[in-house]
């Protein structure tokens, strides 16, 4: 712009707020903001007035009161005399557990299905299309209920394992698959077991260093060191040695049928399995499409160029295509992770004690504090979602195109 048309400095008049294009947009934005605040204030005041009229008050005292109900699967100590806050904590941890497990498996399923859908093998690619179309087009609640119903109907009740002519038997005498859940052996940590664990952690660090060294050697000298079997050896051999040196300090607690149920070992409840599986396969179908989109966004020339350098197809995918495709895949992947976390609130349908089932379900019901509980729930889901978003955004920055 030339300075010819600029108005004189210092001649601001009130009418310019409406007439001058430089200020007009600010004026309208300001008015809109004031209206929005007024609306919110009106809704808030209305809520408080109606609550007061109905004789209700907002109070969080109920959080300290004993909850009075029991929860079947808890990762922290809990009984019916624990407070409602403790019950909410149990719920939060259960939500995080199922969300974490489902994010992991959904990613694995999604990446495999997405790559396989682009396979030149007709059968494989069609099978994957069928998987994606079936699973993402049926609501996840239906999948959760279907898997849970299948589990309870098809798997045997613990009673079937009883007696001399039992109709079911345990796998290796250590694993029991029942319609109440899967029972697996639990490790028992004896004295000296810390040494074994420490050795294992050191082995993992050693593997990382070995792999870095192998890459460095490859870049500097072109010598290709094997990575497969040395990795396995470093991981297993020292730990195994330490295990026997310390005199087998880690034992196994096998589940066994006692009374009505299996006791001992670790119980993975049927609700958790149903929810975990359903969320994984459902969201996996969406992730598969993201992965396919990401791969197809890479120009075909990249594949051809890599092939002309003599790289085999598997290496083309791992070294050339996928690293570039990640830039396209990560942003929608974040929202899929958020979806998993939010969809885990369907847990109550199968009786899994997540935060919606404990704080937003039983506690809300027994105390009648609906507004307080729902506000807490919203705050929790918002916090979790924003945290996942933040973490994934950091990762996205790492893989995104660096312009120098």
């Amino acid at each position: 712009m030339t300075t010819m048309s600029d108005p004189q400095q210092g001649s601001f008049r009130l009418s310019m707020l409406l007439n001058d294009t430089r200020y007009r947009s600010y004026t309208f934005q300001f008015i809109a903001l004031v209206l929005l605040i007024a609306l919110m204030a009106f809704l808030g005041v209305n809520l408080m007035r109606n609550l007061a009229e109905a004789g209700l008050n907002i109070s969080y005292d109920f959080l300290g009161v004993p909850a009075g109900y029991d929860i079947n699967q808890t990762l922290i100590d809990y009984n019916s005399q624990s407070s409602n806050l403790r019950a909410a904590m149990v719920g939060i941890i259960n939500t995080l557990l199922v969300a974490f497990l489902a994010c992991l498996t959904a990613t694995v399923i999604g990446v495999i299905a997405g790559v396989a859908r682009l396979s030149k093998n007709w059968l494989v690619s069609k099978l994957m299309s069928v998987y994606v179309e079936i699973f993402r087009n049926i609501p996840v609640l239906i999948w959760i209920l279907m898997i849970y119903t299948l589990m309870t109907a098809v798997l045997p009740a613990p009673n079937a394992f009883r007696g001399d002519n039992a109709t079911s038997s345990m796998l290796f005498d250590a694993f029991a698959f029942t319609n109440r859940g899967v029972y697996i052996p639990a490790p028992v940590w004896g004295p000296g077991s810390m040494m074994v664990v420490a050795t294992f952690i050191l082995s993992i660090i050693a593997v990382v260093f070995y792999r870095r060294y192998a890459v460095k050697l490859l870049f500097e000298t072109g010598k290709l060191l094997p990575t497969g079997w040395p990795t396995l050896a470093i991981l297993i051999v020292p730990t195994l040695l330490m295990f026997f040196i310390m005199g087998s300090p880690i034992g196994l607690d096998l589940p066994a049928l006692k009374g009505f149920n299996f006791r001992g070992g670790i119980q993975i409840g049927a609700p958790l399995i149903a929810l975990w599986l359903a969320l994984s396969v459902y969201t996996g179908a969406f992730i598969a499409e993201n992965v396919r989109a990401g791969i197809q966004a890479i120009p075909k020339g990249q594949t051809e160029a890599a092939a002309s350098l003599g790289l085999r197809p598997k290496r083309v995918m791992n070294l050339v295509i996928l690293p570039q495709a990640l830039r396209v895949i990560i942003p929608p992947l974040i929202s899929q992770y958020l979806n998993i976390t939010k969809n885990s609130s369907l847990a109550i349908a199968v009786g899994y004690a997540d935060i919606t089932a404990t704080l937003g379900g039983i506690t809300l019901n027994q105390t009648g504090r609906a507004i307080e509980c729902v506000l807490l729930l919203m705050l929790f889901y918002l916090t979790i979602s924003l945290s996942i978003s933040a973490i994934m955004n950091v990762y996205n920055k790492n893989v995104s195109l660096k312009e120098r």
């Binding site: 109900y69 029991d70 309870t152 009673n159 009505f260």
Partner: protein, 338 residues
Amino acid sequence: MNKSVFFGALTVAGVLAGASAAATLDDVKARGKLNCGVTTGLVGFAAPNANGEWEGFDVAVCRAVAAAVLGDPKAVEFVPTTGKTRFTALASGEIDFLARNTTWTFSRDVDLKFDFIGVNYYDGQGFMVPKSLGVSSAKDLDGATVCIQTGTTTELNLADFFRSNNISYEPVPIETNAEGQQQYLAGACDTYTTDASGLASTRATFENPGDHVILPEIISKEPLGPLVRHGDNDWGDVTRWVLYALIAAEELGVTSANVEEMSMNTTNPEVARLLGSEGTLGEMLGLDAGWAKNAIASQGNYGEIFAKNIGEETPIGLARGLNAQWTDGGLMYAPPFR
């Protein structure tokens, strides 16, 4: 345009929110329909029949109130509610009257701001187990997996019972009775616990009801009754006295068959007052003189309702027990109509 509609809607919502607190009786009369909350389906208490019409023990109370207030037992909009949604539905004004075998407790009455208008069924929490399990007492259930409806008093009773007997259990929370039935029959839980009447009702729908027993222990008092919002005393009076009219009718020998005849030529002054041929009880409630007559004529007295829906002649087969008239050693006792 859109904005003005939005603000208009907001204003209306604000006004409605302020007005919903009182005068439910007038609202119901103006609407010409009673909104009644019932269960999502518990045979004998409230469930749609083959023709899609709701019937059952709780449904009869709804219909009796509609007959008394509106003169038409069919003028009822049934709203199915779960254990979780029932109180919100009533508090928000979505329903006028909740008849959903709900236990009368202190905190529901006082803290949740509801008024229980009476008790239409005295119940207690029990356990049902398959006969093949070989359990004869609830105290043998150490370590058992228990199916339980969430959002009910039974959930808290269960925790208390096992804690006070120092035995352990594993709860399987479920949302509806149908779900609990499925889990129980699949063997996903060893025992199903809820009010003994509910257990009997559920067992009646099984293929082989004889394979399941209800354990003798009753672990809690569960007075089940209809409820209304706290603070609208006129509406509370109307519903309370409709229920008492049904109970009093049985005591006084008034049935759906003889109610017309009794209202014409009775010599008992209390019957005459109840049926509106003497005195102004209906007017005091803000209803027609024939309010109780309509209710009894359409649904029968308390004993008839009991026998027809859940009595010993029905598949549910509940004995009167505590729910007999006080003259027969039960707890059903209506204050005098005077």
